[in-house]
Symmetry: C2
Subunit: 284 residues, 2 copies
Amino acid sequence: MPEFAIVRTVADLRAQVGAWKRSGQRVALVPTMGALHEGHLSLIALAKTRAERVVASVFVNPTQFGPNEDFDAYPRGEARDAELLAGAGCDLMFAPGVAEMYPQGFSTSISVTGVSEPLDGAARPGHFNGVATVVTKLLLQCGPDVAVFGEKDYQQLQVIKRLVRDLDIPVEIIGAPTSRLEDGLARSSRNAYLSETEREVAGRMNLALSEAVRRLKAGESVERVEATGRAALERAGFQRIDYFEVRNADDLSHPGPGTLSGPGRVLAAAVIGKTRLIDNMAVE
Amino acid sequence: MPEFAIVRTVADLRAQVGAWKRSGQRVALVPTMGALHEGHLSLIALAKTRAERVVASVFVNPTQFGPNEDFDAYPRGEARDAELLAGAGCDLMFAPGVAEMYPQGFSTSISVTGVSEPLDGAARPGHFNGVATVVTKLLLQCGPDVAVFGEKDYQQLQVIKRLVRDLDIPVEIIGAPTSRLEDGLARSSRNAYLSETEREVAGRMNLALSEAVRRLKAGESVERVEATGRAALERAGFQRIDYFEVRNADDLSHPGPGTLSGPGRVLAAAVIGKTRLIDNMAVE
């Protein structure tokens, strides 16, 4: 098994990445919040095809959780995460503490208008400012050639692509396809919250999304597809539906009520029990 | 005379800076809005003591001007700027157009709380968001080892130091002492707006500031020093005084009305005719 190390400070991270770069090796970063599952490991696998060295960050970022969200409950297990990363061929785990990321006096925030405003931006105020700021920090701390993010968080991926372009961060952002369980449920650390009954309900979200994709491709109107999808989630047993929407793929603007013309994305967020799940699919 | 070049795109800037860095040369960046004067050239001179190569950016950044400010009137003269930079030993001038800096769809903004809020932050809403965003872009476009900013814009310097620390931008920020004319007036591109009579009034601001420093060192209260300074600017003929304030040097928090204890800074902004001037001095 190759060497694997854990670092906790930006200085140590930079020392190792700097040494790799000076020896001509490309470096990929895979930012995570830990609680790793096969979805994350597929990001590591993709990263390994794009760089000689792969760094995974493990940091549950407090600033992207709202006051009534699951920051405290969010699953944590560093030893297991480290073992999974090492096994997947990751070279370095960057696991900073909150004080390393947000020292006393921290007062800078990055916001992205447009793409961050609908969907999770509306449902989770402040969430994408937290994401934009911490991802910018991670990218500038590590200085990777490429960084890999899952399409499971599709809006997050678009927000990150936008800010990287806008701020001229010298890195290539790569989206990785969503990893799914047997019934199609998107892999997510939050699936760990689900009871057996809730797990069954959760498995219906991806079906509603693929049905929506099928209908859009058949020429059904955006308006009808959204109504049908919403109704399907309700029937499935979700207790609150934050959104079930068809959007233009690149900037997440709304395509209007008629037939979808360009590349689209169907995105959903809904709550079952105490668990909020999101998923999305491409309409190509 | 050494070689001197002008580039207008981020790609060309990075190609040149990348070549220098690969050959082991340190690079300094001096961001300017053009209309160069001896103050800027003193920044170049300081930069040359800290790096083998010096890049100066010349960009009048629209997003840091308010709707009723002097963006259109701000003096521009690229040929003269280039000549001065070449003469001062600057290696590269980066003079991007607005579309290179803010292409279609641009939607990211950086804000810094605390240090950016009083003084010019209060007098010029949105100004420091514009500064923070463009400076971050320039730093990430160029990737210098050090960047030099004038202490003339002392609050701007503190905002930049804060955001560089907070976002982990890998660069050292250096403040350069304010360059002054014979009567002590701080050199500024906006001095070009002044009529002969206004020029005389302008020369009193630095006197009011050094008088304030003297009084603070003698133990006079912050409250009295501020009142005296304000009165001095009024008597001198300034038509509007935005502020004349004593602040703690590092975070620009207000030291309270009594005697100043730690390192301080006296800062003033006032309008004469159509020209708004700022200046500041250290209380050590």
